[in-house]
């Protein structure tokens, strides 16, 4: 009954119905945080080619970024030949020599690299007191880089550990993150700025 008296005028009812319809249409256009929204010219905005990180239906593993064929060697790149074993590490220590000079540019680049990749665990001064350990998030104390054991290690062995990770597996391999040159620069910085203070 109430409904009838309220909406006896058919035109008002129609107007209300239209308003409700518009409300539904508009609210469905509203962007939520999971929706990137629309583009002006979609044909120019979205790539026809597959982006490096996109899913690709033409490959079995679904990745656009495919690994190079097995055994291929990039130009100017020497494959790393020492296995992650005790013997491999010792051999790397004998064979590998730091090819870089100890100059200001190399040391400052080494400092940057050390602070990005090493200091979180090994600490600003290499004492094994980095943020991750002192905040108790990483349960194992990282090796002190100023301890006798590390100071007496040849530089090649340290290069091997950065590249392949430590034998205990507590330190992961950083070869994919740090370029060869930068690894040597970090070692230069380590040797120049830490060990002298201890000895």
């Amino acid at each position: 009954m109430i409904f009838k008296t309220y909406f006896s005028n058919r035109i008002t009812f129609k107007a209300l119905a239209a308003a409700a319809f518009i409300l539904i249409v508009l609210s469905s256009c509203d962007r939520d945080r999971n929706n990137p929204g629309y583009a002006y010219f979609p044909d120019m905005a979205y790539s026809e080619a597959y982006e490096p990180y996109s899913v690709n239906p033409f490959f079995k593993d679904g990745k656009s970024m495919q690994d190079p064929a097995i055994g291929s060697i990039p130009r100017g790149h020497i494959p790393y030949q020492y296995p992650k074993t005790y013997e491999g590490q010792v051999q790397a220590g004998i064979d590998l020599i730091n090819p870089l000079l100890k100059n200001e540019a190399n040391l400052s680049r080494g400092k940057d690299g050390y602070e990005i990749f090493c200091a979180v665990c090994h600490g600003e001064q290499g004492k094994g007191d980095g943020e991750l350990y002192t905040s108790k998030k990483f349960p194992v104390q990282p090796t002190s880089l100023v301890s006798d054991r590390i100071v007496n290690k040849p530089e090649g062995e340290i290069f091997h550990i950065i590249t392949m990770g430590s034998l205990s597996n507590l330190m992961g391999a950083h070869g994919s993150q740090i370029k060869v040159e930068d690894r040597w620069k970090i070692i230069l910085y380590m040797r120049n700025n830490f060990s002298e203070k201890v000895n």
Partner: protein, 389 residues
């Protein structure tokens, strides 16, 4: 019927009580001491050799005093020529790090090892049970973190548009059919006001087309930049290590996550649920499908290397305060006007920047005092093809 229900309820209650009692009993029995975490990185109890030997039954095999000495400093024992210690070192070749622990702490660990050696299954059970509550509470915490003001402002825009349309419709209907208001001029004024309101909204919406400001998609793993950057002080470049050489900052591979997470197996907010997804991805060799947040149209060329390595622009400058975001959100519009504005105002850093040696003329002009500063558009920053190629 009633009796049946009563019987069922009492049965249910008693089983729940029993389960709780068992849980409590089990947890109080074999809770691993805090210090054992350190040991667990290299040793297992009854699950085979890891980096160091399996600890199952070690308390029966060796003397307690010997174990305490060895745990405290295995290196000194080897130096002093302890036969057993030297034999172990020759076999495993990796020295066990020294541990600064009191006798009581070590004894606590040894008791735990002794208990776990007897019934290793129990230890597994407690682990899986203790995980559940941690993860369920943390999810709600994460959801509540971000205030979402952008959605609100958008909603207001929609309501404004709706009101303007309604007004126009009502006035038109009144004008043609019902004629409640006698003077036509009132209709026209109201319609005009409503029209301007509506057009304002349409313009605002049109400007927003193709811009993703406020885009904050759910990611396959609830990875929090806040926890990793502010909490753990990890540098952006540790994970996004290609940012200085590549167009892309680079999404870290799962093996980079594992650099820390093969030891850190429980998160502070999400327990093991989220971190376990890394192991799943690593074991199945299926990449994690992160959702890209900062998208540029295909006709725009942008290089991180140019901006970060050469321009020395800070990450925050474009990406906002990532260190305070649990879920990554786009804070800038990344529109062309936004890029150009920055290029107009950013002064080029010539000092200690080899990239710009070809711009000697500008150097000389500054030296001779002809010009006082150089902006990006003077070194090609406003060339169409710098971005559109």
């Amino acid at each position: 019927m009633k009796e049946k229900i009563r019987f069922l309820i009492t049965n249910l209650l008693s089983t729940i009580l029993l389960v709780f009692a068992i849980q409590f009993f089990v947890q109080s029995q074999t809770n691993a001491p805090e210090q054992y975490k350190v040991c667990a990185a290299c040793h297992t109890i009854g699950e085979g050799k890891l980096i160091g030997p399996d600890l199952k039954g070690i308390t029966e095999k060796r003397d307690e005093a010997w174990l305490i000495d060895f745990i405290r400093s295995s290196q000194t024992m080897i130096k002093n020529g302890d036969e057993e210690a030297v034999k172990l070192f020759d076999e495993y070749k990796i020295p066990m790090p020294d541990n600064k622990m009191t006798d009581e702490e070590i004894k606590e660990i040894l008791t735990f090892i002794r208990n776990s050696s007897k019934e290793p299954v129990l230890a597994d059970k407690t682990e899986s049970q203790s995980v559940v509550p941690a993860s369920s509470t943390s999810e709600t915490v994460l959801e509540d973190f971000m205030p979402y003001q952008l959605a609100k402002s958008r909603l207001r825009l929609n309501i404004k548009f709706l009101i303007s349309i309604l007004l126009i419709l009502l006035m038109l209907i009144d004008l043609i059919f019902t004629r409640f208001i006698k003077f036509r001029i009132i209709h026209i004024v109201i319609i005009l006001v409503a029209l301007t309101l509506g057009v304002q909204v349409v313009v605002a919406k049109a400007i927003g087309l193709g811009r993703q400001e406020g885009y904050e998609p759910d990611q396959p793993i609830k990875f929090s930049h806040k926890v990793h950057v502010t909490g753990n002080k990890i540098d952006c470049k540790y994970c996004h290590s290609t940012v200085e050489e590549s167009r892309y900052a680079g999404i870290p591979s799962t093996s980079v996550c594992l650099n820390c997470h093969h030891v850190v197996r429980e998160g502070q907010h999400t327990g093991t649920t989220e971190i376990n997804k890394i192991y799943e991805a690593f074991e199945s060799q299926k990449p994690i499908e992160w959702v890209k947040v900062h998208n540029l149209p295909d006709h725009v060329f942008f290089s991180h290397a140019q901006h970060v390595a050469v321009g020395k622009v800070d990450c925050n400058h474009c990406h906002g305060e990532v260190e305070n975001m649990d879920r990554i959100r786009q804070v800038n519009s990344l529109s062309m006007g936004w890029c150009i504005n920055c290029h107009r105002n950013t002064e080029v850093q010539f000092k200690s920047n080899e990239y710009y040696t070809s711009f000697m003329k500008l150097h000389d002009d500054i030296k001779s005092g002809k010009i006082s500063k150089v902006t990006v558009d003077q070194v090609g920053g406003n060339n169409c093809q710098a971005c559109h190629n």
